[in-house]
């Protein structure tokens, strides 16, 4: 039996920088995870769709455009609407402390700001996934 952590990394909104998210993707891969990268300009609906199809444990979203207070809630709403709110949502971006606190209250599991070492994100993800195993019956 071989249970891998699967994580979707996505970038909503209009800013076209994907360097940061690619660095994270490589770090997660090197930590032994399966990283699905779905590219730029993803709408919240596309992100949640992909997460469901790929059956990921977690969704990581990078937002540098400043639109984090609309995009994160939109992803959370979409997750709820699709019955996928058991998936861990975390994110990164240039996000002020106040906003960070508010987002984490809304249901974003963790926000990483630029400069946070990738090891921190890896450790967070491992722990969050380990503590969430489902007991649904297959058949």
């Amino acid at each position: 039996m071989n249970q891998k952590i699967r994580v979707l990394l996505a970038k909503p909104g209009l800013d076209g920088h994907d360097r940061g998210i690619k660095v994270i993707a490589a770090a997660f891969r090197d930590a032994g995870m399966e990283v699905i990268y779905s590219g730029l300009r993803q709408t919240p609906a596309m992100i949640v769709d992909a997460a469901i199809q790929e059956d990921v444990d977690a969704i990581g979203v990078s937002i540098l455009s400043g639109a984090h207070m609309t995009l994160f809630p939109a992803v959370l709403d979409e997750m709820k609407a699709r019955g996928a709110d058991d998936i861990i949502l975390f994110g990164g971006g240039i996000i002020p402390d106040d906003d960070k606190t508010e987002l984490e209250k809304m249901g974003v599991a963790r926000i990483f700001t630029p400069g946070a070492p990738t090891e921190e994100a890896i450790a967070f993800l491992r722990e969050a996934v380990a503590s969430k195993k489902s007991d649904e019956k297959m058949m």
Binding site: D30, A31, V35, Q53, A84, K137, M139
Partner: protein
Amino acid sequence: MAILDRFFEGDIRALGRIISHIEDRADGYRDLLGVLYEKSGKSIRIGITGPPGAGKSTIVNGLAHRYLNDGKRVGVVAVDPTSPFTGGALLGDRVRMNEFPAGGEFYFRSMATRGATGGLAAATGNVTVALDAFGFDITLIETVGVGQVELDIIDACDTVVVTVVPESGDAVQTMKAGLMEIADVFAVNKSDRPGADRLAMDLRQTLQTKPSEKDAWKIPIISTVAVDAKNIDLLGEKVDEHIEFIKRSGQFDLHRREQIKKKILSILKNQFQREFLERLGAEIDFEEIVDRIMKGQTNPFKVGDELYASFSRS
């Protein structure tokens, strides 16, 4: 409700969960597959292979849209390599997919090889069984595309599209890569680039000189520009024609029968290995055996015979 019941009600989330269960070989996955297998057999499986960056995913995107426009339901499995050093994988084929309906008529799954080396993951075939049972009319399977011979695709598909590009070399190199033997349809992609016409001509000539029976399938060579969806419809038509052709000739059934036989043998092999290790694994001191082999006191063949004999007796 159990996940399998939700699966049969068309719940995509349940499909995703079941595929993970199969991939992870989690408890009871073989019983689960048994149920799914008996509901499968209707989906047409189309393989897309070719060197890295040739445009496989872009072609998958184009073909998927074409089949969706036809009213078909389309499932995709796209395989990328697992790092042998870390066990991790970066699965990037999804980047090329754009604007698909979210109503359950389309499903895309990225899959890591998890140690397999034939161009697919060990579980890819089993995953296509789940897609088939879920009701997808068409299953598209994209191989890793590391440029090595990727023969797994033959056992997982009904028809194979080989994608080549001017950069991937001439017909001889295509042949050396083992791609000539597995192609049912060729896509010469990136034919907006210099050298594409020559490559198409080169392939055509090489295929013509290949001896073939009178009524054999003539492998079409389609020049495509996948990013502009140019000739993707034509490529799709040729794929459909091939399916029709092999259905008429009986090869379709023959091929599937062959695949089923192979599947049974591989299940037996796995079962035997598992049972062997369960029964004797604890008793066998592999390190000690390897020591003796390294010292030249015995050899792996002899050891194999001895272990097999003690297994048959036990």
